[in-house]
Symmetry: C2
Subunit: 145 residues, 2 copies
DNA sequence: TTAAGATAGTTTCCCTGTTGACAATTCACA
DNA sequence: TGTGAATTGTCAACAGGGAAACTATCTTAA
């Protein structure tokens, strides 16, 4: 038996580890779910962002909103465009591509939404509505710097 | 302007989205931190698991504890062994490799621990100790099936 | 006006992790 | 006892995402 390091984790660390664990599990399950439609979680994320935006937005803006590299946004939009869920528009600034949700993309979101919502509710079922709210606000505090 | 889908997210969904966001951020920061020592978060994870185990444990056991595929555990242990942080032992069952932390591995953990702990505390600073505890228990409820 | 710097998107290369196939070994049970 | 099923670790192939280099374009300031 070799030497071991005695570690007594603080509350902060324990909470942090669980956060990472839960997050990891959610990302996996989410990715599985979207795989069923030949997409990644991140692909869907782009669709949701575009659906939520009041106007077409640039790729770099998308990248900023989802913490993804510009390079990756290019790829994501590529496949979404190939699937006709999304359209690239030229605009005044010739460096930028504005991206817009197509009707087909909106239809896709509409059709898949029940599944996504159902999964989320199922996921959070172990918590009461009140607990979900506290969780929400606690996470909010962590998110703002 | 194309058609949009009207979405009014439930509390469950909102909490879930924040969970994924926070988790994602923590994994990124964590990976950055360990990159400084030429390791991945997951490499370090293996070390911590071995340090916490009372005896050498098999690779598949490691994989189970960290939700990683057997194939990946092979690679992780490969580099840790190359770095002399870890040792593979034969055992009764000739299919399995028992893995054990070396003294050098323990030393590495000991030296890097302050940084890791400091980062965790910094991360959770926006929450009071009480809030950290509630967060911890709420996540616990989500983790057990 | 023009030259230096900033910004957007793409491409290429690399790293990490998963899946599936495989060989070696062990287990279950007829 | 012996045969089919399960388990363990490894390898090859593949997919997703990041970083850096590159081009095109725009902005700023002299």
């Amino acid at each position: 038996m070799t030497k071991k390091v005695k570690i007594t984790p603080s509350v902060a660390e324990q909470a942090l580890i669980r956060l990472m664990r839960v997050g990891d599990r959610l990302w996996r399950e989410s990715d599985n779910r979207f795989g069923q439609w030949g997409l990644t979680d991140n692909h869907y994320n782009v669709l949701r962002i575009l659906n939520g935006a009041s106007q077409p937005i640039s790729q770099s803006e998308i990248g900023r909103k989802m913490l993804s590299s510009r390079a990756n946004v290019t790829k994501l939009v590529d496949v979404l465009e190939q699937r006709k869920f999304v359209r690239r528009l030229a605009c005044g600034d010739r460096r930028v591509n504005l991206v817009e949700l197509t009707d087909e993309g909106a239809k896709f979101i509409e059709e898949t939404l029940p599944v996504v919502i159902g999964a989320a509710n199922e996921e959070m079922k172990p918590l009461t509505r009140e607990e979900q709210k506290t969780l929400f606000t606690l996470l909010g505090k962590l998110l703002e710097e």
